[in-house]
């Protein structure tokens, strides 16, 4: 019944074809006539808009994806006021105030020609998070976050003064206070045994653990960064000089909240662990642990920089600079993980709680005193030589010296619990941690460019970072039983060798075709060799990546352009531990194919289409681990296809219409992996389609209206974060 009758399809096809013919013919007739611009650019304007979705499904997932809440957003989308004042002064005001999206901007800038400018501003925007944990497909286990709304706000208040008198030094002072606070999700998910995997009372009957870490976690952020920058730049003769002092004060207090084994409690008396076998309910497999990990850092960083660039002749330029940075920070931590456990006298809750000498406490501690200090001196010196107008060689050398030291004193607070009596005994262990690091990297760099061949530019860049350093660290933890562990101290000599090579060309083959190609190669070796009490220890990481970027721009006619791009990157990594052999630890391949079409079928219309297809895989343990280990971890595939289509055209003299379609699909989710693993691969599909019109209401006012529909499906979350629905958008641009 719902099949379209053939004659209707034919009619529709004929109508579409007729339209095409008329449209292609249209511009020839229209070209000779005078054009009218329906949407001139306003010097000063205000844009008021409202955005209203109607979300069915997971509203938090919608908010994260579309960066606005499901309740919509409205207000001033953009404000710009530009006014020329007397005495060569210009005042510019910019603003934005979108309620709901919590996106705000206020900026005032006063500029006086040949004197300078003063600017003051405030910007803030909100980022939304869906707070999901993992999904386990066997029993469709899914743990929602709860009712917490997750979002973080980033804000920045700044003042900026520039004094730029003619032929005088340019002074610049800027103060900014950046803030980031709120609550966001974390991928440090907690455990759950309620995953549908059978749990027997006899351990040997459980070859695959039911414990899957899928319980959501989240972070409370409170971060501030205040920066005061003062600089002066001046040109003396052929030399540009720049001096800069920056003081940065960073205060962060971030707390991660975790739930491990939510809803679980082992019964007491304990279940028998000897045959005969019986199934244990997931809610009785473990004990609930909940808590937080708060990390506080108050850093004070001073940086002093001087740079110069001297043009000795038209062929020769010398440049260089030096920076000294002194960073010191007070560090503290407060991690409190509370165990809930059944005892003979009832349920007990204890921070860092554990049972018996063999029990390991969930690490809980407070830092009593701690600080770090880092001093860095960096300098570079280079020369640019142009033996010919189209031939440029630049050679530079960068040297660094970095010394870091730090220490703290941690008190682990655990509680020994005797289930038979319910007695709880605090066990406190004071544990020092120390660390020193030094590093001296050198980086020479060569850059050569040649464009002496007609319509062809060639270039190559090589840099090679080689560093020697030393790392000494000692950390002290707690053992099973809550006692003090022996400090783990390590002494390592460090050697880094990082080489980068790049060769490329840009060729305007003709007015129809432009080609660009580049190949690169990276070769890194990071070597840590133990000495003193770490003698014999060794860790070497090496990797080699190579890749290609090829771009072709084809313009068969002035109104049509195709752009195609391929980016490929292939790499291998290898590790060596102690006296062992080197072995391959990674093999990755990444192929990206992109294409864009820009088409003006006539001057009344345009079509833009973009598509990206990516095939990416990263292989480590699989399949080389072998046997049962191959069921634990498969390759990480990150394939996807995304694209969008925009078509715009003039409906009448005062109206434009636009159609937009976006599409995304990833098919990396493999539910066949469990029960031996958690399936993480990204799988999902989504699209949005919008149709809009923009109409000139008066000479000073435009209307922009859009309606659309969105649909997002996630395989990775078992459909729990799906959302869909219609949306509407309306805006008014008004010339001020």
């Amino acid at each position: 019944m719902h099949a379209t009758p053939f004659h209707l399809r034919r009619s529709a096809g004929m109508l579409a074809g007729l339209t095409l013919v008329l449209c292609i013919a249209g511009p020839r007739a229209a070209a000779a006539t005078k054009e009218a611009d329906a949407f001139p650019v306003f010097d000063s304007y205000i844009k008021i808009s409202g955005h209203a979705p109607s979300v069915t499904g997971n509203a938090a997932a919608y908010a994260e994806r579309f960066r606005t809440p499901d309740s919509g957003a409205y207000g001033i989308e953009a404000l710009h006021l530009s006014k020329d004042l007397a005495d060569k002064k210009t005042l510019e005001i910019d603003g934005k105030a979108l309620t709901g999206a919590e996106d705000y901007l206020g900026k005032i800038k006063l500029t006086k020609e040949e004197v300078g400018s003063v600017e003051i501003g405030y910007k803030r925007f909100r980022t939304f998070y869906d707070g999901i944990g993992g999904f386990f497909p066997l029993n469709k286990a899914w743990m929602p976050m709860g009712t917490q709304e997750l979002h973080t706000d980033r804000a920045n208040f700044w003042t900026d003064i520039t004094i730029a008198l003619p032929d005088k030094p340019v002074f610049h002072v800027r103060y900014s206070d950046e803030m980031r606070n709120g609550r966001k999700d974390s991928t440090i998910w907690g455990d759950s045994d309620q995953t549908g995997i059978p749990i027997y009372n006899v351990g040997s009957l459980n070859p695959v653990t039911a414990d899957k870490k899928i319980a959501p976690a989240y972070l409370d952020l409170d971060e501030h960064q205040k920066t005061l920058l003062a600089s002066v730049t001046h040109t003396v003769g052929n030399t540009e000089l720049e001096l800069e002092i920056v003081n940065t004060r960073t205060d962060s207090n971030d707390t991660r909240w975790m739930n491990r084994y939510p809803g679980e409690l082992k019964p007491y008396p304990l279940l028998r662990t000897t045959p005969p076998a019986f199934l244990v309910d997931g809610t009785q497999a473990n004990n609930f642990i909940t808590g937080y990990d708060e990390q506080i850092s108050n850093a004070d960083i001073w940086a002093y920089t001087g740079k110069f660039e001297t043009k000795i002749s038209d062929q020769l330029t010398v440049f260089g600079g030096i920076t000294y940075q002194d960073a010191s920070a007070d560090i503290s931590g407060n991690r409190q993980m509370t165990l809930t456990i059944a005892t003979a006298t009832g349920i007990v809750q204890a921070v860092g709680g554990f049972v018996g000498a063999g029990g390991r406490p969930p690490y809980s501690y407070k830092t009593n005193a701690g600080s770090t200090s880092e001093k860095t001196v960096t300098g570079n010196l280079g020369v640019t030589y142009k033996p010919q107008k189209d031939f440029r060689i630049s050679l530079a050398l960068k040297g660094e010296k970095q010394d870091m030291s730090g220490s703290n004193l941690v008190t682990y607070n655990s509680n020994s619990i005797v289930q038979a009596t319910g007695v709880v005994t605090p066990v406190n262990v004071v544990a020092p941690n120390t660390s020193t690091r030094s590093e001296k990297p050198w980086t020479p760099e060569l850059d050569v460019r040649y464009s002496g061949i007609k319509k062809l530019a060639l270039y190559t860049t090589v840099d090679y970072r080689f560093a020697s350093g030393d790392e000494v660290g000692s950390s002290t933890g707690v053992t099973t039983g809550g006692g003090a562990a022996a400090p783990v101290t390590s002494f390592d000599n460090v050697k880094n060798n990082h080489a980068h090579y790049k060769v490329g060309a840009n060729w305007d083959v003709s007015s129809l075709l432009t080609l660009r190609a580049e190949t690169f190669y990276k070769d890194h070796v990071n070597k840590y060799t133990g000495y003193s009490t770490s003698l014999g220890g060794r860790y070497i990481l090496g990797y080699q990546f190579h890749g290609y970027k090829v771009t072709a721009i084809v313009k068969p006619m002035p109104t049509l352009q195709f752009t195609g791009r391929y980016v490929g990157q292939m790499g291998k990594m290898d590790t060596t531990l102690d006296a062992g052999d080197s072995s391959e630890s990674m093999d990755s391949k990444n192929h990206m194919f992109g294409g864009t079409i820009d088409w003006n079928p006539n001057k009344n219309a345009y079509v833009q289409a973009n598509v990206n297809v990516v095939f990416a895989t990263l292989s480590t343990a699989y399949p080389r681990a072998g046997l049962a280990a191959n069921d634990v971890l498969r390759n990480a595939d990150n394939d996807y296809i995304s694209g969008n289509l925009i078509a715009g055209f003039a409906v009448d003299k005062m109206t434009n219409a636009q159609l937009e379609y976006t599409y995304y699909r990833a098919s990396n989710y493999d539910p066949a992996g469990p029960p031996s693993a958690v399936a993480y691969g990204a799988g999902g599909k989504e699209y949005t389609v919008t149709v809009g019109v923009k109409r000139n209401l008066t000479d000073r006012m435009f209307l922009n209206a859009k309606v659309g529909y969105f649909d997002s499906k996630s395989d990775t979350t078992g459909g729990n974060t799906n959302f869909r629905g219609p949306l509407a958008y309306l805006s008014l641009d008004y010339s001020l």
Partner: protein
Amino acid sequence: MSEKKRWSKSTIIFGGTAIWGLLLVGCVMVDRTVIMPPNIAGATYVGTKKCDECHKDQTGHFEGATHSRLALKDPKVGDIGCEACHGPGSVHSKSGGSKGTIVNPNTSPETCFTCHLDKRGEFNLPHAHPVLAGKMGCNDCHNPHKGHVVARSGAELESPNETCTKCHTAQKGPFLFKHNAMTEGCTACHNPHGTVNQKMLISRDANLCLKCHLEHPAVAGDGTIMAGGQDHRTRLQSGTCWIAGCHEDVHGSNASKAMRY
């Protein structure tokens, strides 16, 4: 079922015909140019020298910038290095620098996407920096006018990781026990343009860590997953390396050299 109805062939055919119909009306009735974003109506090329008159601070060091490698001379107007990205500048120049008369890639990443098609695709992914949402621009991390476009690389004075830590201050450290992956840079684990995975990770599972930490087993293919001298096979059944109770402090720790907390 309802979706099939919504997107039936009839809907597509007649919806498409309706849109073509609108286009038909436009073609026949309208004598007006519709500008394909991010272009500027009526603008023509004026050459870099014109830009240089007002924007010396941007043009002064462009010759050494990464993107200048792509700036070939146009036989008609000479060097159009600036206008290759900012679009033809005649309207902007005549207006005395009026806002909206020149393409500003920092507010319209479409210009960058003209060549960097792959980045458009990555920013479109579910987990990406909010460039398409207009909350930040390409210029926040890349300076196309001076030096390396991958900021602070090569022999430049500043540290590469500052590109990320200037905003992500909690990851700046210094930590007592740093994750040496930071020496390789944040991009060892994250793709800042966007990925299919949460937190813009290049892999959402233990492969992310094992690429640097997978060690030679005692016997090849013996069913172990060795890391840090220990077999992690059974532990990885529960999830990633950085999940709760394991190596949680991936950016660096002030209490545990193994970055457990």
